[in-house]
């Protein structure tokens, strides 16, 4: 430390270190004091919160009906926070439509809703974001314009809060600003949040998505199609056929997903074609959709999908077929007829996974005396089981040796 010692008289390094020590010790004292004071303050706050919540809860019906004037709680900060939290919780939990009007009425007449709209427009930072989320939870139509305005905020967090808020409203009109932002907005918002908001808003009117889908391109189009894939109903049937032939594979995949909710007479011919699509994930979606359609005509395209070149499609098709239960022996027969070993292995493996294999063995054993073909099927099944087990061991051993 000679270097430091020599510098001491000139630069006061010792003094600097002493200052640093004082800074550190002061920092320690400040932190410990802060922790202690914060704990004490929080303890008091929660005690008071508890007392006021109890008091307000006991007058809850009167607050809602207006017998207790809003002036009695609205201008007291803690009371106002408690009542708002209770109102918003009730709004979210309301199972019946008739439960909503008195809650919304209370929000409106007390001016709470106006206050939140004002905050969402005029405030900044976390206060604005909290207001946006609260507005969304009110599910009030008049909240939508203020929420939509916030989509143009420069901060990503505010935009996220606005999209979440719009999603929380679950109103069809709230979907429009979200979609328009998705199509023409300049700043990024995480896709997952947009998709969730759109699912919430469009569940009763998926036609909105379709309208915008027709005028969109690129990634936004794929996002809209994906959401539509979750929400599409039988009413959209004809339009879905158009989407099933779209040039964008993501859109076709979503159309395939949506077909799962359509009438079998409409969906089956389309899905039977889609299981031969050039893109593997479109074929995969078609297989999943076929699995959800309750019609015997789905077996043939599923068996065809079982011979797919893509492993994921084969496994999904096997899963779909293994779920059919009652006709397993016939299905197995069809699978054997394909003379595709991969298909056979995928199907047998899925039967093992689902535990249905023993049922199939029993079914084939029962019919053994009547039909020699079943004996062959049974032997094929046992051989495949053996092959899979051995194959897994060999693959595993050779991979280990690499």
């Amino acid at each position: 430390m000679d270097f430091a010692s020599k510098l001491t008289p000139e630069f006061g390094l010792v003094g600097l270190v002493v200052e640093a020590i004082l800074f550190s010790v002061a920092g320690i004292v400040v932190l410990i004091t802060f922790i202690a004071v914060r704990r004490w303050y929080r303890g008091r706050y929660f005690q008071r919160l508890n007392e006021r919540t109890f008091a307000l809860r006991s007058q809850w019906n009167d607050i809602l009906s207006g017998k207790v004037s809003a002036a009695a709680w609205r201008l007291k900060r803690l009371d106002c926070e408690i009542v708002e939290a209770m109102l918003l919780d009730r709004l979210e939990l309301a199972a019946l439509p008739e439960e909503l009007p008195p809650l919304l009425n209370c929000l409106r007449t007390s001016g709470l809703l106006d206050m939140r709209i004002y905050q969402a427009r005029a405030e900044g930072g976390w206060k604005r974001r909290a207001a946006l989320i609260a507005l969304g939870r009110t599910r009030a139509p008049e909240a939508v314009p203020a929420l939509a305005d916030a989509l143009d905020a420069p901060e990503e967090e505010t935009r996220i809060a606005a999209v979440r808020g719009l999603g929380h409203t679950e109103l069809a009109e709230a979907a429009i600003p979200v979609i328009e932002y998705l199509l023409w907005g300049s700043q990024p918002i995480p896709e997952h949040i947009i998709k969730n908001a759109l699912v919430n808003c469009c569940h009763s009117s998926p036609g909105i998505l379709l309208r915008y889908l027709k005028q969109s391109t690129g990634r936004p189009r794929a996002v809209l199609a994906r959401v539509l894939g979750e929400l599409a109903t039988a009413e959209l049937g004809e339009d879905l056929i158009l989407l099933a032939t779209d040039g964008d594979a993501e859109v076709r995949a979503s159309a395939a997903r949506a077909m799962g909710n359509s009438q079998p007479s409409l969906a089956l011919p389309v899905l039977s074609v889609m299981v031969t699509d050039a893109e593997w994930f479109v074929r995969l979606r078609a297989v999943v959709a076929l699995a959800s359609i309750n019609h015997s005509a789905r077996i043939r395209p599923l068996v065809r999908a079982l011979c797919d070149s893509n492993r994921h499609v084969r496994l999904r098709a096997a899963w779909a077929l293994a779920q059919l239960g009652s006709n397993l022996d016939d299905i197995f027969h069809q699978v054997v007829e394909t003379q595709d070993n991969y298909a056979l292995q995928a199907f047998t493996s899925e039967l093992e996974r689902s535990g249905a294999i023993e049922d199939l063995v029993k079914a084939l054993q029962k019919k053994d005396c009547q039909n020699q073909a079943h004996q062959i099927l049974l032997e094929t099944l046992q051989a495949t089981r053996q092959n899979i087990a051995q194959g897994a061991k060999v693959l595993s051993a050779s991979a280990g040796a690499r």
Partner: protein, 470 residues
């Protein structure tokens, strides 16, 4: 001789100052980020995520080697996690105890000849089992290759979800932890390829049937020191590095990874001692080389509770192993230093070389030369004493900062006395605990250089049955 000693002491001075100043910067960043995250959580509705059709499936991979005491409770607890689409893959990694038997009995396992494609090379998988009581459960019985990574890789091969989450069999995940970690993934405007949650110390907590009932501080000082270390490492270090988009590690006890990417980097390196650190660095390397836009995130609220060593011997082994793991990853990736293509990750690795890897060596040399200089009379004793006091006070300030962060954000230790104890033990973390860890880390370096790469047994204090009785 005197000049040499002076040079050494001056170097130590600068080194120590730089180390503390960097940590102070990380602390300030972490306070800001944690507060920000806490506020963000207010707008999050986990129940909506739970019912969202866009929440992707996750495969939980549980490597189990001689875990008969914990495994059933652990799997039960995992199967009760709140998440819409879960697959649980338990890999019995050549256990010599009754791990497999206990699983078979508890979950009515049946051997199922399933297609298993080993995209990542592992030791041989002897058998696969499906559960008759929980269709989400798949058990792989494999030969042991002597490494946890090999078991995890087998699980990755069997995984069918776009994300895998690796969980230690003796760790406890909080019920909402998966939803919370995925909420962090979805809120990011960059594609998140991996995310880590916080790991906290289980010792001292009360458990019933694999579920955390009450959070508490452990009794022994050695365990409390580790509580402070974990708080500092996760709430300060990880949070700040993740903010700078250069998180170099996701804890092996709890983290989620993109399945495709893990397969692309050929899974966990079986020979790696610090397999979690090694994997994340290789992911950074690949994604930088491919010039991909990505983010490896840290989400501070999803929590995993894990048991830490409660005796000095086990702790010494663990710390030596961690240091071996550090060297084992830093050395093969040394070409990432000072290369623009690796961006900030290269700088964080440099930090790890300078302030983590060689830290025990610098400290050892520093202590030796200071003592020697004092003996030879070439040291300003006044300055020496002041510097020691400063070093101690500043480091203690950082430790208390981590307790403050815990207080400001997640407040898992709600009792006044527990916080008081935490603060009290902060005073001892930098003397003598720090010197003990220095010695263990030095031993790790020595063992690595000798080629001793064994994990070493960690003694456990609690079995599941004991925990249940609490």
């Amino acid at each position: 001789m005197g000049a040499l000693l002076n040079l050494s002491n001056d170097t130590l001075f600068v080194y120590y100052l730089a180390s503390n100043l960097i940590y102070l910067a990380l602390l300030i960043t972490a306070v800001w980020r944690n507060t920000w995250h806490r506020r963000r959580l207010a707008s999050l509705r986990l129940e909506r995520l739970q019912v969202s059709p866009f929440t992707p499936p996750i495969t939980l991979i549980v490597p189990a080697h001689n875990e008969e005491g914990f495994i059933v409770e652990s799997v039960r607890a995992l199967s009760e996690l709140y998440y819409p689409d879960l697959e649980i893959v338990v890999v019995n990694d050549g256990s010599r105890d009754n791990t497999l038997l206990r699983l078979k009995t508890a979950f009515q396992l049946r051997a199922a000849r399933l297609l298993y494609l080993p995209q990542i090379a592992t030791a041989r998988v002897r058998e696969t089992y499906k559960s008759d009581v929980d269709p989400r459960l798949l058990v792989l019985d494999k030969e042991s290759a002597g490494s946890k990574s090999d078991a995890i890789n087998a699980g990755i091969n069997a995984a069918s979800s776009p994300y895998v989450c690796v969980v230690d069999a003796d760790s406890i995940l909080e019920k909402e932890s998966l939803l919370r970690i995925m909420a962090g993934v979805f809120s990011d405007s960059h594609p998140v390829v991996a995310a880590g949650g916080i790991v906290r110390v289980l010792n001292g907590c009360e458990l019933t049937e694999g579920e955390l009932r009450k959070v508490g501080l452990p009794r022994h000082s050695i365990e409390i020191m580790q509580v402070i270390e974990y708080l500092r490492a996760f709430l300060i270090g990880r949070e700040a590095w993740a903010y700078f988009k250069a998180l170099p590690i996701i804890s092996g006890a709890f983290g989620i990874f993109s399945t495709d990417l893990v397969r692309q980097v050929k899974g966990f390196r079986p020979q790696a001692i610090g397999e979690d650190f090694d994997l994340v660095v290789r992911m950074h390397r690949l994604l930088h080389e491919q010039e991909k836009d990505y983010h490896i995130a840290f989400v501070p609220d999803p929590t995993c509770w894990t048991e830490v060593p409660s005796d000095l011997r086990s702790l010494a082994r663990q710390r030596a192993r961690w240091h071996k793991g550090l060297i084992d990853t830093l050395w093969p990736n040394r070409d990432m230093l000072f290369r623009r293509r690796y961006g900030r990750v290269g700088w964080v690795l440099l930090y790890m070389w300078v302030f983590e890897f060689i830290a025990p060596l610098v400290e050892l040399v520093g202590y030796s030369t200071i003592i020697l200089a004092a003996v030879l009379g070439v040291l300003s004793r006044q300055f020496f004493v002041l510097f020691l006091i400063f070093g101690y006070a500043f480091a203690t300030l950082i430790s208390i900062g981590s307790v403050l962060l815990e207080e400001m954000t997640y407040r898992r230790y709600s009792d006044w006395r527990e916080v008081g104890r935490l603060l009290f033990f902060c005073l001892f973390e930098h003397f003598p605990y720090r010197q003990m860890t220095m010695f263990w880390r030095l031993r790790g370096i020595w063992q690595y250089l000798r080629g001793d790469l064994a994990w070493g047994e960690i003694k456990r204090t609690q079995t599941s049955s004991e925990l249940t009785q609490k």
